[in-house]
Subunit: 154 residues, 2 copies
């Protein structure tokens, strides 16, 4: 797999504002696996500001959320030996999200999100997430991702 | 006070993408006190979608974040008998954020965010937050808000 996991989501589930390839207004976050770590990169817009020079915390929480569900898909596919192709990537939704803002995150630079597998079951993946700017560890997070149930939203 | 607390933030701290009145691209969340509960209302755009018919979780986390800092300002001003006027509202930043997605949140409707004071010290306010759509309790959250230090970002 050389494309981001979000490229393999079923079309029906590819509209997410944070990471859906079909959302024309969204962030289009892309998540890859490198060794045992999931990676997403994102450069905020100038208006994604909290205060002069620093990134809006809500954007950071949003990116952690989508990085968590993307990472869950990658880790779940790996653990279950699913060969990801043609829109068959397992699709997770967020059950719970925790974010700790350790330092103000500088704006105008690329954010690197790293995800580490913490727990995995047949229906749930928990990832520990860290956000860096220029190797400075700015934000930590944890995402409890739930495998999309067949009756989602019904 | 009849205006939202965000109208009373110092101009320097009114640029937040989520709630700053001076951010031309942002959400402009507005937070009011009603009896002992802080209230914000927000109607997502059509593109703030997670999956067809449901609100993007990252937006919900963002709104909870800003509702938390706005609520912190309101509760802090009340507890410390600060008469809010002319851009003197205490300004909080988020130290920590927890979100639990209890039910998929329906899109195309107004979200009501309610905040309740849980803990307050001279520098920190913790609020419990609940998000409703049509009286359906969809998302719960907690925000640890920190009074903006004089040396913020330095």
């Amino acid at each position: 797999m050389i494309k981001a996991i979000q490229e393999y989501y079923d079309e029906e589930f590819a509209h997410c504002y944070g990471c859906g390839r079909k959302n024309t207004e969204g962030h289009h976050l892309k998540t890859y696996m490198e060794d045992d770590i999931s990676i997403s990169k994102f450069t905020p817009k100038d208006y994604h500001i909290a205060m002069e020079g620093f990134v809006y915390g809500g954007l950071l929480a949003s990116l952690i959320d989508c990085h968590g569900t993307g990472s869950a898909s990658l880790f779940y596919a790996r653990e279950n030996s699913i060969a990801v192709k043609n829109y068959n990537a397992p699709r997770f939704v967020t059950g719970g999200l925790t974010v700790k803002f350790l330092k103000p995150t500088p704006l105008y630079k690329e954010l690197i999100l790293k995800g580490e597998l913490k727990e995995i079951t047949s229906k749930k993946v928990i990832t520990k997430i860290e956000v860096f700017v220029d190797d400075i560890f700015c934000v930590s997070g944890e995402v409890i991702a739930i495998l999309l149930p067949d009756n989602f939203g019904k």
